[in-house]
């Protein structure tokens, strides 16, 4: 087993364990911190796949922005919204069965895909993926339309936030 595989296995176990703790933790702030560990594990996965840009963006956006805002919102509540009730309801086995079924279906679908067994091609270290990604995002034959649509959506959200927070002068 190579070192990369070992790192992958350790990261996978940590990510999955943290993901379970997100839903199992009773304290909401703890759940948010576990979520950060999960997201960080995903970032490490991106790093292992030679996609450093996505790894770093994952940390900047999901940990640096979204999770911190979530923790901020939770901290404003009383005593971290501690919940003492049962974490299961009567339909827990239905949910478990459905999750198991969809997971099996996903694995089966992936295993029938032709690219499932082909090893990844080695990428040369000198390729500038970030520049290639940027060029594709503004390339008319590439992804310029989705890119622009996403920017307009974000702009609308930004303006919407300003409108919501606008102080109405009587």
């Amino acid at each position: 087993m190579s070192v990369i595989q070992l790192i992958f296995l350790i990261t996978a176990v940590i990510t999955l364990g943290a993901a379970i703790m997100v839903v199992a933790a009773r304290n909401l702030v703890h759940a948010a911190l576990w979520l950060i560990l999960t997201l960080f594990g995903v970032a490490v996965m991106f790093g292992l796949l030679s996609a450093p840009f996505f790894a770093v963006v994952q940390v900047v956006i999901y940990i640096g922005a979204i999770s911190i805002l979530m923790i901020f919102a939770i901290m404003l509540t009383r005593r971290g919204l501690l919940d003492s009730g049962s974490q299961f309801n009567k339909g827990w086995w239905v949910a478990g069965l459905l999750s198991l079924l969809s997971f099996t279906a996903l694995v089966w679908m992936l295993s029938t895909w032709e690219g499932f067994h082909t090893p990844l091609p080695e990428l040369s270290r000198d390729t500038d993926f970030v520049a290639a990604l940027g060029a594709q995002l503004v390339n008319p034959g590439g992804y310029v339309l989705p890119f622009e649509v996403a920017s307009i959506l974000l702009l609308a959200a930004l303006i919407g936030a300003v409108v919501v927070a606008w102080e109405k002068k009587a």
């Binding site: 950060i36 450093p52 940390v59 923790i71 901020f72 901290m75 520049a131």
Partner: protein, 407 residues
């Protein structure tokens, strides 16, 4: 002989392979050793920073500073460390034990992480990743997380207030910082720090002085140093997020803050002051380390100069400064730099010529002049508003006749 670090690494590699280890395992071992050496080196400098901080602040305030222990008080930081180590370690009742202890580690570790991408010399650097600029932003966000964890887990209202203030400050100042970081990226055509240093035949400070200034201001805000230290404002919320920490746990926050300031200085030097560039740095790589730290300590001194010269800003002024002034200015700057760069250099990676430097500098000066004119107009309107007729609070005269009639 100019590059002892790589020479030792090559010697160790040969030694380990000679002992019968596989090349893959050797690389892993050497990388781990490199991380250890780098972290230790930076932490030892951190101890020295305690002395620098105390000595320089004393000079700013017309005092002598530590001068009893050793020459120029140089042994004082060791005494400080021993004092911190033997203090009682207290975890307050009701605190979240695990998060409470994790927070100081996060605060120092995230600062150490930043040194991984800073190039010390042409051949000496941790990791030459092509997204190093974004990496610095990402690691900075993790550092903020440490402060929030400390504030929340302390079970103290003042600490929580400090954490709230940190979030507001971080979220606002990260925006102009990330925008302005694009300026050196545009100029160097790369997000890798080594590539940015390589293309600085002219320091980027002369091509983009406003961007450098905005980066310095936003970095100080992210550091949480005066005049942006509202998250630990002593006169308002005692000590903010680290109010409940004692002994070495407080020491980690303190060391993290000092080291963060030096780290930010090193990043600033790398982005705008040519990093390790200097005479003979290409032939003798170890000289590059000296140049980088020389520049970094100069910027560190500037940060301290600002810290001990300005009063603390009020929170609404601080946020307004970021959103209403720095963010629009940095947006204008990025657009202007990109357009000018595209016209003069095209899309290729042409080397930076002298007329190009002059034109970029001229563009910066024009933007600076326009900013000053707009600010002056704004100040004039604001003064007029303040000097004008003020509304005077008046009580409404009660209508006695009506009151009598009601009775």
């Amino acid at each position: 002989m100019g590059d002892p670090v790589n020479a030792i690494a090559a010697w160790l590699r040969n030694l380990l392979i000679g002992l019968g280890l596989s090349p893959g395992l050797t690389t892993v071992l050497l990388t781990a050793l490199g991380v250890l050496v780098m972290a230790t080196f930076v932490t030892v400098i951190d101890i020295l920073l305690v002395w620098v901080e105390r000595k320089v602040v004393a000079r700013f305030q017309d005092r002598l500073g530590p001068n009893r222990l050793g020459p120029f008080g140089l042994i004082q930081p060791i005494a400080d460390v021993i004092k911190l180590l033997i203090k009682e370690d207290i975890t307050p009742r009701g605190a979240d034990w695990f998060v409470f202890n994790l927070a100081p580690i996060m605060a120092l570790a995230t600062v150490l992480l930043m040194w991984a991408v800073i190039p010390f010399a042409p051949t000496i650097l941790g990791a030459d990743i092509n997204v190093a600029v974004l990496y610095i932003v990402a690691v900075g966000a993790l550092g903020t997380l440490g402060i929030i964890m400390a504030g929340w887990s302390s079970n103290n209202k003042y600490a929580l207030l400090g954490a709230f203030r940190t979030v507001a400050q971080m979220v606002s100042y990260e925006v102009p910082m990330v925008i302005v970081l694009l300026v050196p990226v545009i100029l160097a055509r790369s997000m890798g720090l080594q590539a940015i240093v390589d293309s600085q035949s002219t320091w980027f400070f002369f091509l983009a002085p406003i961007a450098a200034l905005i980066f310095l201001i936003t970095s100080i805000a992210e550091l949480g140093r005066a005049p942006f230290d509202i998250n630990e404002a002593e006169s308002e919320i005692v000590a903010g997020f680290h109010i409940e920490y004692t002994g070495m746990k407080f020491g980690l926050f303190y060391a993290g803050e000092l080291l963060h300031a030096l780290t930010v200085s090193a990043v600033f030097s790398t982005l705008f002051l040519g990093g390790w560039r200097g005479p003979f740095a290409d032939q003798v790589p170890i000289l590059g380390v000296v140049y980088l730290f020389g520049k970094a300590f100069f910027i560190y001194w500037v940060i301290m100069w600002i810290k001990y010269s300005f009063p603390r800003l009020r929170i609404d002024h601080m946020l307004g400064f970021s959103w209403k002034f720095l963010t629009p200015l940095s947006l204008v700057l990025v657009i202007a730099t990109a357009v000018l760069d595209k016209i003069l250099r095209g899309t290729g990676n042409a080397p930076i010529a002298f007329p190009y430097v002059l034109l970029q500098l001229g563009m910066n000066l024009v933007i600076a002049a326009a900013t000053v004119i707009i600010l002056r107009e704004y100040a004039r309107i604001e003064r007029k508003r303040v000097a004008g007729v003020r509304p005077v609070a008046t009580a409404i005269e009660p209508d006695f006749k009506e009151l009598v009639a009601q009775e």
